[in-house]
Every structure is written in C-alpha cells, then in structure tokens.
C-alpha cells in the first residue's frame, strides 16, 4: 500500500514537472519569436557604455524585427587597445563594435587589410550634414573606418571671478596678443597665473599649431613637425612660462592629473584652453568652480582659424564579427542619426558631429553643463564650428604624439634642456627615419 502511494505521488510530481516545463516553453515561444542578436562592444570609457545602452533601447523600439543585446566590456585605456591589437593580429577574439582613441587609430589601419570594416555606405548618405573633418581622422584611402562621438572644438575656459578681481573684460580678448596682455594684468592684480601649460601631454600645444593650418604630419603622412609655425608656437608657449611669466607648468604635468584638478578647483589659474569635451572634467572633478567658469572662443592668430577639433574616439566595427551588417546599421543609427547626435550632447556633454543637431531646440535645454558654465555655450560653439578642420592622422601619428608628449613638451617647457628648434628637429628626424 505504502509503495503504491509512493509511486502515485512521484507520478503526479513528474507529470506536474513535465507540464510546467511545457508551459514555460510555450510562453517563451510566444514572447520571444525573434531571438535578439548579441553584439559585443569594447570601450575604455564608462560614459560611452551609458550612451550605447541608451542607443540599444532606442534601436529595439524602432526595429522590433531585429532586436539586439549589447554586451559591453569597459577596460582601462591601454588594456583595451592592446587587447584589440592582439585580437586583430591573431585573427580571433575581437568584439563586434569597439571604441578606438584617435591617437591609437592609425595602429589599426596599418597594412593592406585593416581588421576594421569600411563604413562608407552609412557615412556617405549623411555626408552633407556631418562635420566631415572628424570623419577624415578615421579614414584611409578614401575609406572611413570609425565614427566619432564629438567635434572636440577647442575653446577657452575663463575664471570670471579672477577677471572681475583684476578689472579685465574677458570679451575684449580676441587675439593672442590680447590674451598675453590680459594675462600680465591678471598676474599683477591677483598674483595668480593666467593659465597652465601641459608639459607631459599635447593639449596645450597641438591645437595652437592646428589653428594656424599646421600639423605634426602633412596630408600624405610626411613629417612636418619642425616647420616654422610649429617652432614659433612652441617659442610662444615657452615665453608665456619664462619671459611673459603669465603661465605655469600644469601641476602633475597635464590637465588630467589629480593634482591639477585639486589645484585648479581652488581657482588657482585664470584660464585654461582645452577641447569642448573637457567640460565634463570641470563638472566632475572641479565642482567648486561651478558658476565661476565661462566658455569663450579661442584667441586667434593673424589669419588663423577660430578653433581646432581635438581628441576623439572612433567607434569601429571589426571584420571578425558574425553580424557585421547589423552592427553597422546599429552604429549608424546610434551615432550618425540626428537623434543619436543630440544624445551625445544630452547624455555625454559632447559637441555633436551633425551640424543639423546644433540648431535643434533640444540643445538649448538646461542640463548640468549649462548649470555649470551658463546658457551661452552653444552660441560660442556655433561661432567657431565653421573653422574646424581635420588633423592628419597618418601611420606615424601615434609615434609623433608620443614624441610630442614625452620629449618635445617636457624638454622645452619643463626641463628646458632643449630649445624649441632642437627638440622639434630631433623628433622630426627620428620620425622621418621610421
């Protein structure tokens, strides 16, 4: 009797399990008729993950017939680029979509068959609406391989309070001569330097030569590092430090060091020039300057441009992916559409790469950047956007940037062991032999 009861009980249990299993099966079949495609995304910037996650939600809403799941890995900067390099060199293990920083991009375009997918078919239809200078940074032989997040317009960040204290009007500064003259007054009246110069990075020097139409490399990748404009500009920076005495070397060596942020947060310098994307660093790391900083166009050189497009990250698609076409369409919608471009501003605080996004009402809505810098940020940008060109990112670019950071800027501006001419010539000769 006991035995038969046990058999009955276990049969009932078994049936219940089978039936519940069937039930579960039918329910998944109903809701998930189309299986989402998983795409892998590698980035070195946590903020970019948030942007892409948002883009996936939009994509899945707009394309219920081909939903995707984005699996994102956020790595440290060096680690991600090295991992990608090894994956592409060995022919296995690369993600579908990947962020590559501009100074590393040329590394991935070496050789006759880059491991990245050509994006011309998604870029060309919207060509007239894009700031194409930004696309050229990630192109080789007329083929585009990466899509940037921003324009990276170079702007000047002024400390309003120190200018008021010194009785100098910020809006009177138009040329570099005006800037240096104002700097002398600031130093005299406030005892604080007008600005800080990077000695171990390139953001103080590179935009200035670019605004004068010069570069590290020429259009065809030839080395023009030691030309007259570059020499004079480096001399001007050196003079700002040691002759005019309106600048000091950035504490910690560069504008991304913890020491600089702590020092600057106390209002220790009256201005700094950095690209537009540097707004995020102010908001995040220098909160005490909220309401004190304003953004204005760069001082100009005679006959020079009003700004330069600096920095950037090209999002690319690797040839190793199994769903290249889908990844390409998703990337295009995320970053090349007007909506996507507006999101680079509202989510990331970047200046969008589509010019028609700039006039959209969404751009004038209040956010943490307008709270910090005031509401006229976009007017300042609109005034300079037409002047932003590309930089020449040839095969020697990663090497040139390294030499600029470690040798030229440091030896001339900090160590003073070489003159601008010596340092530029030495680095240029080395690059020419590579």
């Amino acid at each position: 009797m006991k035995k038969s009861l046990a058999i009955l009980f276990s049969t009932v249990l078994l049936l219940a399990m089978i039936l519940s299993g069937c039930g579960a099966k039918t329910s998944t079949a109903k809701t998930g008729d189309i299986k989402p495609t998983t795409l892998n995304f590698w980035t070195f910037q946590e903020l970019h993950k948030g942007f892409m996650d948002d883009a996936v939600v939009t994509w899945n809403k707009n394309h219920p017939d081909k939903p995707i799941v984005l699996k994102t890995d956020v790595y440290p900067y060096d680690e991600q680029h090295n991992k990608l390099l090894i994956a592409l060199q060995s022919g296995t293990g690369a993600p579908d979509i990947v962020d590559i920083e501009i100074s590393k991009f040329a590394n991935f375009l070496k050789g006759s068959k880059p491991g990245l997918v050509e994006l011309n078919d998604v870029v060309e239809p919207v060509k007239d609406k894009l700031i194409m200078g930004r696309m050229e940074n990630y192109a080789k032989d007329g083929k585009y391989y990466g899509i940037d997040y921003h324009v990276g317009a170079e702007v000047m960040y002024y400390n309003k309070a120190l200018f008021e204290q010194a009785g100098v009007n910020i809006n009177d500064i138009v040329t570099w001569d005006d800037y240096i003259a104002a700097g002398k007054k600031i130093v005299e009246k406030t005892g604080k330097p007008m600005t800080t110069l990077e000695t171990t990075e390139h953001w103080s020097y590179y935009p200035l030569i670019n605004m004068q139409g010069s570069d590290l490399l020429g259009k065809n990748g030839e080395v023009i590092l030691d030309n007259e404009i570059n020499k004079k500009t480096l001399e001007m920076l050196k003079d700002m430090l040691y002759k005019d005495k309106i600048a000091v070397p950035a504490p910690g060596g560069f504008h991304h060091s913890e020491e600089y942020w702590a020092w600057m947060n106390k209002g220790n310098a009256a201005s700094v020039w950095m690209p537009m994307w540097y707004m995020g660093r102010f908001v995040q790391y220098m909160p005490d300057l909220k309401g004190q900083m304003v953004i204005r166009p760069m001082p100009i050189f005679p006959g020079g441009k009003k700004s330069a497009g600096m920095g950037g990250t090209g999002t690319a698609i690797t040839t190793q992916g199994k769903n290249i076409e889908l990844a390409k369409q998703f990337l295009a919608e995320a970053k090349l559409s007007k909506e996507g471009s507006i999101k680079t501003w509202s989510l990331l605080g970047f200046d969008p790469i589509r010019s028609d996004a700039w006039t959209d009402p969404a751009m004038s809505a209040d956010n943490k950047y307008t709270d910090y810098f005031g509401t006229d940020i976009f007017n300042t940008l609109k005034a300079v956007i037409g002047d932003i060109g590309s930089i020449n990112v040839g095969a020697k670019f990663p090497n040139a940037i390294t030499l600029l950071q470690k040798n030229i800027c440091f030896k001339v501006l900090k160590e003073q062991s070489q003159t601008p001419e010596q340092a530029l010539k030495e680095a240029a000769e080395e690059l020419r032999t590579k």
Binding site: Q89, P114, P251, E258, A262, N399, T402, K406, N407, E430
Partner: protein, 314 residues
Amino acid sequence: MADPSVIGLGKPYNRRSRLRQIFSSQKTAPYVFVLPFILSFLVFFLYPIISTVIMSFQRIDGPEDVTFIGFQNYKNLLNPHFLNAVWLTTRYTFWTILVLVPLPLVLAIFLNKKTTIGKNFFRSAFFMPALTSVIVAGLFFRLAFGEQQTTLVNSMLGVFGIKPTIWLQDADASMFVMVLLCTWRWMGVNIIYFLSGLQGIPEELYEAAAIDGASEFEQFLHITLPSLKPVIMYVVTISVYGGYSMFAESFALWNGPRSPGEIGMTIVNYIYQEGFNNNNLGFGSAIGIALFAIVMAVNLLQLFSSGFFKKEGT
C-alpha cells in the same frame, strides 16, 4: 612491480591494469610524471621563445601582412631611446642590488638573534609589502610623491623646512622613488632568504669563535658572510633578473610607458611601447631578445667574477 597475472599471455588486458602497468614501470613512469612540465614548457615557454626570435626578423603590419626584413629590427635598436632604456635599467639594477643585499642581510641578522623582541611581528611586517599588488603600491607612491606642497612626502619634508620636490618629473628624484618602491616591496623576501641561510649555520662555529676571543664583527666577517655566500649569490642573481625586467612599478608610477623625458623608461617599458602602443611587434620582439642577451651576459659575468663556475669545476 606489475602484477604478472594481469600481463600474462592469453589474459585480456583491462584498462585499469594497463594504466597501473604504465605508472609502475620504471622506464615509462618518470616520463609520465614529468609530462605536465614538458608540455607546459613546450607550449608556454619554448614555443613563445621561438616565435619571438622569428618575429624579431619580421615587419608585422597585420595577420596577413608579414615580411621578413633580416636584421633591420636589430639595426634599429641603436637609437637613443633604447640606449637610454638600457642605461636607466642598468642604473636601477645597480641601485636595487646595492640596497637590497646589505640592508636585508643586516635586518635578517637582527631578526635571527634570540634577544630581539617582537621578531615574528617584524618578519611579517617586512614581508607584507611583497603580497601587495604592485599597481596599488605604485598608485600610492604616485600620489604620495606628488609635486604639491600638500602631498604626503612633501608635507612631511616641509616640517623640516625642506622645499617641495617635483618627484616624478626629475631624473634623479624619480630614480630614488623607483628604488624606494622596489626596496619597500622586496626587502621582506630577501630577509626570508637570508634568514633561512643564517639558520643553516651551526651554532658551534660561533661558540668556538667566541671562546677564541672573536668579537661579534669578526664573527660576522669570518663565519656569517662566508657561510651566506651561496645565498648572497642567489639574491644578487635574482636581483639582476628582477632589475632588468622591471616594468610594473614604472607603469604604475607614470600610468603607462609615458614617463616625461623617458625618466622611467625601462627596457620592458620600451618593449611595451613599441610592441603594443606603436603596433610594432617585430621591433618589440627584437628588444626582447636584446634584453635576454643583456641579462644572460650580466648574470654570467657576475657568476664568473664570484667564482661560481670554478667552484663547480673543482
């Protein structure tokens, strides 16, 4: 020995007994036991070394873009960056050996004395840094040796009226920081080596010397030092290797191979920069082979000069 009933003719083998036969055979068993080592040696050591040697003669632009360029990569080694890296790493190795042999030796002698109080505490305290992540330690040192007046080291020096130093943007000061970081990290390990050496010296030698009227210093000079010679040689040898292969400390202090003016550019940092940052894997391999040759040469030189091979021969 194998069970004769199992391997006897006419009886079917079963798998278990066959395995037992292999493991108990004096001929095959040793090979089976060393097989894991041989396999891992072949896959993780010999194969990478051979492919590094091959790659050092190549220019590699992509998986399908490989060209043999003869000795070009080795010719390119004669550039100021590589020479600077060799010179810097040699100086670093010299300083670390100069500090990391005598200092742990003296400390080990103190920690070996019966009269020292809190021996176990000090032993573990000295050893603790070796267990710390070098990246965490490097980050701590980077922030502690910041250039501002308010950073840890500068504010401590300020108490004595010493002006703030820009530690990590000056060649000499940064060498000091690198050697200090290395000392902090490896002293405990070297103390352990010396302690184990000291504990192997028979107590009777000291007693006899004391009866003969030898002072403590004479005992150290004539008993401790000669007895510790093999340990000292071992520590120097691994310090040469450790010094020349230094990477992580410099990487953490300057957040990558980007020390200004290359004041922290060691040879391995240079491999990293060329191989990965500049996607120049062929040249990176050539630097690696050169580093191997340098370490071998220095170690052989040191072993020859200390009479290591002579002793073996006699």
